[in-house]
Amino acid sequence: MTTLTLAKALNEGLRRSMEDDSKVLVMGEDVGKLGGVFRVTDGLQKDFGEDRVIDTPLAESGIIGTAIGLALRGYRPVCEIQFDGFVFPAVNQIITQLAKMPLRSLGALKLPVVVRIPCGGGIGAVEHHSESPEAYFTHTAGLRVVACSNPADGYSMIQEAIRADDPIIFFEPKRRYWDKSEVDLTATGLPLDQARVARPGADITLLAYGPMVKTCLEAAAAAAEDGRDIEVIDLRSLNPLDMGVVAESVKRTGRCVVVHEAPVFTGFGAELAARITEQCFYHLESPVLRVGGFSTPYPPSRLEEYYLPDLDRVLDAVDRAFTY
């Protein structure tokens, strides 16, 4: 076991993938000499060269569009979008081309492209640097969407994503980049599309992914002191969704709160609530509640502590779930 930050764990995962397969490329803005603005690609260009770690022009559509072309030629590009809010110029290429090409070719083409996106708020940034755009992508057939929450998962999930033959949107919680934990560099980890019980519990289920897993674990620890036993599930994959793990948990606890940073309205939690209602109806003791961002643009940083779900807002929702 080695203690690594999430950023370093991702870096090790990328390095391992590049060592294992010479077709793996890393491309994006400032990923080379600088090692990325979060240093996730630190040292890779030095070790693998400029042909495999490509500092690209400052054009996000160009990054994804040329990655598609490289994938068509047999390469496995891993694209870095510098910040969540900068993915939008690339959305045309992601939605109309990357997601659709396998179907358009009746299966003749595979596009093993990974799009890494640092996501979420909490770092005191200016506008466009703190967003949670996952629902745009989970709504697009042809894409797989995953979010890592901790160093061990980051290390294994990035390697699995690179090995996969489908295009994958890979969310990295930027405010957790510096969190450390033990990583087994010889472990393969869970399959990419499986959810993980991050903390077992009997009274209520919290569903989260990416940055909110840690928040939910902290809420569960606080609630335990009051005698409430909270189960926390880290979804890991949003599309496909591992409903087996979710439904098993909610049927057992009878209560569920979904937590994400993205706005609640038509957010990913709406899909979870609808599915849980359908699959666990006779087991529910209370409606599925949601905690998330408001129906506002992401606020200036001096307001973000009011916008982002925190331990208290999660526990408030847990309390409300027990009033039914």
Binding site: T66, G69, R73, Q97, A108, L109, G142, R144, D165
Partner: protein, 363 residues
């Protein structure tokens, strides 16, 4: 220029031309082409056959057998000339109008019709023909062509890509980004812009205040304008640009100056926005008529040859029609196929539920 003036009728002076509209062979200081008599006849045959396929497709649409069709009428020389310049190892990235290039890459025309009939969204294997799928979102494929060319560089292969697009696409961000990427990475790509003067109803001056080929200089690579209705010039110019790309000299922008003789698609009505005089003037520059005149004048072909090509075209038209009508409608299960390369639990669940639901009607 007033909006009613005929467009593109007077050939601009920078145009590379090797065959005049009257069928006269002319010299150009930078470009030449050596073709055997057989090769010239073969080019003529290609032009006639793709026009016939196009004609049949328009008829099929009018009869309700295709949902829509994007006609290449008038652009045959640009497509056959550039398409015949490609080697087997080169890779072409088309729009949705490159039926002539598809012909050069041995894609069965019925495959193209399948897309416009609504049987599938494409369905040929691009790697089998080195001809990518039709791309409908304007300009998106130019970035794919550059990325693929960057792959060729990394493979150390002797090949190039060609990206097709129209005059309207030159306003797209993706096309401009592809110019930048190709330039800074010195990618082996040829940008082949068919300037057919019209982006549906919008004339060229809505897209550009300078001739399109001059855009290239701002990106740091050469641009050339070729007579898009001259199959010799299109072949010569594209061949040279591809060879330069393969030899590591980077990208070239070719502006093939041509004219969309038909509607944008079968859903369009060009009488609402362009004058009849313009069409009449461009008819005199027809790519097939000028090559036919050249063949006649130089006694490279006789009436028997032309009759034979016409008969072959008619047979091809009939064959394409028959096989188009025989295309089976896809089964409902096809909705769920090929969305992902690997198994996807959500899709499996939806498919199983829906097929069970449908099966309920069959009892």
């Amino acid at each position: 220029m007033t909006s009613d003036a005929p467009r593109g009728v007077d050939a601009p002076p920078e145009l590379v031309q090797l065959l005049t509209p009257e069928g006269e062979r002319v010299e150009h200081p930078d470009y030449d082409i050596e073709l055997t008599d057989e090769e010239v006849r073969s080019l003529y045959r290609d032009l006639v056959l793709v026009r016939r396929i196009d004609l049949e497709a328009v008829a099929l649409q009018r009869q309700g057998e295709l949902g829509i069709w994007a006609s290449l009428l008038g652009q045959e020389a640009a497509q056959i000339g550039s398409g015949r310049a490609l080697t087997d190892a080169d890779m072409a990235f088309p729009t949705y109008r490159e039926h002539g290039v598809a012909w050069c890459r041995d894609v069965d025309p019925v495959r193209l019709l399948g897309l416009f009939r609504g049987v599938n969204h494409g369905g040929w294997d691009p790697a089998e023909h080195n001809f990518h799928l039709y791309t409908i979102v304007i300009g998106s494929q130019t970035l794919h062509a550059v990325g693929y060319a960057m792959g060729i560089q990394r493979d150390g292969a002797e090949a190039a890509t060609i990206a097709y697009f129209g005059d309207g696409a030159t306003s797209q961000g993706d096309v401009n980004e592809s110019f930048i990427w190709a330039s800074v990475f010195n990618a082996p790509v040829v940008f082949f812009c068919q300037n057919n003067q019209w982006a549906i109803s919008e004339p060229l001056e809505k897209q550009s205040k300078i001739p399109l080929y001059k855009r290239a200089s701002g990106f740091g690579f050469p641009g050339v304008r070729v007579d898009g209705n001259d199959v010799f010039a299109c072949l010569a110019v594209t061949r040279k640009a591809l060879q330069n790309a393969r030899e590591g000299q980077g990208p070239t922008l070719i502006e093939a100056y041509t004219y969309r003789m038909g509607a944008h698609t079968t859903s369009d009505d060009p009488t609402r926005y362009r004058v009849a005089d313009e069409l009449e003037a461009w008819k005199l520059k027809d790519p097939i008529e000028r090559l036919k005149a050249y063949l006649f004048k130089n006694q490279l072909a006789d009436q028997e040859f032309f009759d034979k090509v016409d008969a072959e075209a008619d047979a091809l038209g009939k064959d394409v029609r028959r096989r188009c009508l025989e295309l089976p409608d896809p089964e409902p299960e096809a909705l769920f196929q090929h969305v992902y390369a690997a198994q996807h639990s959500l899709l499996d669940e939806e498919r199983d539920q829906y097929l069970t639901y449908l099966a309920g009607f069959e009892r």
